[in-house]
């Protein structure tokens, strides 16, 4: 099990909002055990049959089995909501919200770490175990159950690649969206460790993109492992325009890392094949799995 499974009871923070209520419906349809929602000032309502509370405290009082929360609240209130979840003892918090101020993100992630809490996101499609539970906003039907772990910095690109995998008959054990913001609660190394320990995952597909050095750091980490599961990567942004320059500091701190060439080289040097297009991913998966089955 990677963080969640079919039995995980889920709280929806921001359940009465447009996205919160819509995706509560989709998650419930998928079978996710959503047992309560929170929107301050809306306590006593119901959304799709789910009781709404004013505070996380009250939700937990009535539903002590809640183990994870998914956060849809607007960016300027997300920090408040995430800290409320942490302080009430929740250990897995999926932050869908986009556009949270950077300093708020830094503080909430730092605090979560100090409390042993896993934050998925912010700005993530969430986490999903196909056939069991979906704590997120991904279109469920493209993810088939299977034995591939999927970890990604990008939302829609993940759907694309999951669908390509599915077309060739490859299913997914768990998919984790790290989130698209510069600072996220999980990185590739931490997500890989979760998959490494998961007996239901044979192989990991890593979906990266230009910017930052998360892919290079993972490659460095992976290359030093003695026992490892195979990893395949796809990196978006080979032809992307250069992003905004962060003074000299951005260039100094990245030390030449962050562009497509750097990431591709680091991954290949670590023995990780890099696909050129999303549709190539299942082809490489097939090669690796058939090679392994011959051993």
């Amino acid at each position: 099990m990677v963080l969640v499974d079919r039995n995980t009871e889920v709280l929806v923070q921001g359940i009465t909002g447009r996205e919160g209520s819509f995706h509560t419906k989709l998650m419930l349809e998928y079978g996710t055990r959503i047992v309560a929602g929170v929107t301050p000032g809306k306590g006593g309502l119901e959304v799709r049959g789910v009781p709404v509370y004013d505070t996380v405290y009250e939700a937990l009082r009535d539903h002590p089995g809640i183990a994870a929360s998914i956060v849809f609240v607007p960016a300027r209130f997300a920090y408040d909501a995430v800290l409320e979840a942490i302080d009430n003892g929740l250990k897995i918090i999926v932050v869908i919200t986009e556009g949270i101020p950077l300093h708020d993100e830094l503080r909430m992630i730092r605090y979560a770490k100090s409390r042993g809490v896993t934050i998925i996101g912010p700005n993530t499609p969430g986490i999903m175990v196909p056939g069991e539970t979906k704590i997120g906003i991904m279109p469920a039907h493209v993810f088939k159950p299977g034995r591939i772990g999927l970890v990604s910095r990008s939302g829609t690109l993940t759907y694309e690649i999951a669908r390509e995998l599915g077309k060739r008959g490859y299913g997914v054990s768990t998919v984790i969206g790290l989130g698209g913001d510069p600072v996220t609660g999980l990185n590739f190394i931490e997500a890989y460790r979760l998959f490494m320990d998961d007996p239901r995952t044979d192989l990991i597909v890593l979906i990266g993109e230009i910017g930052g050095d998360a892919e290079e750091r993972f490659a460095m980490y992976y290359s030093k492992l003695d026992v490892k599961k195979p990893v395949i990567a796809y990196i978006a942004g080979k032809t992307a325009p250069p992003g905004k320059r962060m003074g000299h500091a951005g260039a100094i701190i990245s030390m030449g890392m962050g562009d497509y060439a750097s990431k591709r080289k680091a991954l290949i040097d670590a023995g990780i094949p890099v696909a050129d297009t999303p549709s190539q991913v299942p082809v490489i998966v097939g090669e690796i799995l058939s090679r392994r089955s011959k051993h």
Binding site: A75, L106, R110, R153, G155, L157, I210, A249, I252
Partner: protein, 378 residues
């Protein structure tokens, strides 16, 4: 959002960080008076947001007020790397012995703040530090604690500053952190930070970048948001899109930065050239999609429009309605190729097919079709 040097220096100065005496000038006459007030010998600095303005001639010295007038006449209204010079910062000349580098930014991987410190300040800092990594000191500052005075002692020793400057460096680094927090900055950078003749430290240049997501907390900057962008880019930003113009002919609209980049990569992989990067973000509704389509159609280079939408929080029916709205209200008639999957896919497909659009399921097929159309092969 990047601030101009004069804005960053004003903030620095208000936080007790020494900066040269300076006066903002919008006309040659103002520059002359500024030079007079500053004692005659000055430096004139074009206030632009593009980098490396010094190498492009945007920083000039003048020995007399008349020379300042003349140089200001040349600089004002000129263009530096595509950006028009509207204002000059006229500053006193400062005698210094060494140019240092000092910045505070976010260490993404470390999920922390980080001070970057180097004795190799100046325009060549990036190359110098890459060649001499031992000349760079990174000091991590935990988001809980922020700046702690010991950090300045580490920096002072690394910069080999005499003991009498330690207090000033402490005060500067403390102020940098305060600026970082109070202005929701992503970057506070002084390059060079001068070690002056006879002692003392002074920020000769200053860069501050404010986190766009925090601008709602800073209404005075929010209203200036987007000022450095092209007209179309500014419009996109107002609408909440990420938009960058490129020089190809296939208009691209996708949802999600990753999928947008992957679609562009695929266009090039199949031999085409994207006209733009446009990510409508997550959860865009009918109205925003309509505006996105209209925006791309405003670019005369665009020969064909390719939408690649994979619905998650974005709903395909909303996208479809937005596309139909835009095309029905636009005078331009160009081929539109839609690839659409995910949340409410059936409804979106139905809406588009009713209007006669061809909707693809496979990205490769849609991209290949767009490339063929752009090449006139269809």
């Amino acid at each position: 959002m990047k601030l101009y040097e004069y804005e960053a220096k004003k903030i620095a100065s208000e936080n007790n960080i020494p900066v040269p005496r300076g006066i903002l000038a919008s006309t040659p006459e103002e520059a002359r008076r500024a030079a007079e007030e500053l004692g005659g010998r000055v430096v004139l600095k074009a206030q632009v947001l593009v980098g490396r303005r010094g190498l492009a001639g945007g920083i000039r010295k003048a020995s007399t007020p008349d020379e300042a007038y003349m140089i200001a006449g040349e600089l004002l209204g000129s263009s530096i790397r595509g950006e028009r010079v509207e204002k000059l910062l006229v500053e006193e000349l400062v005698c210094f012995e060494r140019e240092l580098y000092l910045s505070l930014t976010v260490d993404r991987s470390g999920r922390s703040y980080v001070y970057l410190v180097s004795p190799l300040g100046g325009v060549e800092i990036e190359e110098l530090v890459r060649k001499h990594p031992e000349k760079l000191l990174k000091i991590s500052a935990d988001p809980f604690n922020g700046y702690i005075p010991y950090m300045s002692r580490l920096a002072a020793k690394f910069l080999e500053l005499p003991r009498r400057e330690w207090g000033l460096l402490n005060s500067i680094m403390e102020s940098m952190y305060r600026i970082m927090i109070n202005y929701d900055a992503e970057l506070v950078e002084f390059n060079p930070l001068a070690y002056k003749c006879g002692g003392g430290l002074m920020a000769l240049d200053a860069k501050i970048t404010i986190d766009d997501n925090s601008l709602y907390r800073h209404p005075e900057y929010l209203k200036l948001y987007g000022r450095e962008l092209s007209v179309l880019e500014a419009k996109a930003k107002q609408l909440g899109f990420s938009y960058v113009e490129l020089d190809g002919d296939i208009g691209v609209i996708c949802n999600g930065a990753g999928l947008t980049m992957a679609t562009m990569d695929l266009i090039l992989y199949y031999g085409g050239r994207p006209a733009n990067f446009l990510d409508i973000g997550g959860g865009a509704g009918r109205d925003r999609v309509r505006e996105a389509v209209k925006l791309v159609l405003e670019n005369p280079r665009v020969k064909v429009l390719l939408l690649n939408i994979f619905g998650g929080i974005t709903r395909c029916d909303e996208v479809a309605r937005g596309v139909v709205d835009a095309l029905e209200s636009s005078k331009r008639r160009i081929p539109v190729i839609v690839r659409m999957l995910g949340t409410n896919e059936e409804e979106g497909r139905r809406i588009l097919e009713e209007k006669g659009f061809k909707v693809f399921s496979e990205a490769d097929e849609a991209v290949r079709e767009a490339v063929r159309v752009s090449r006139g092969e269809v």
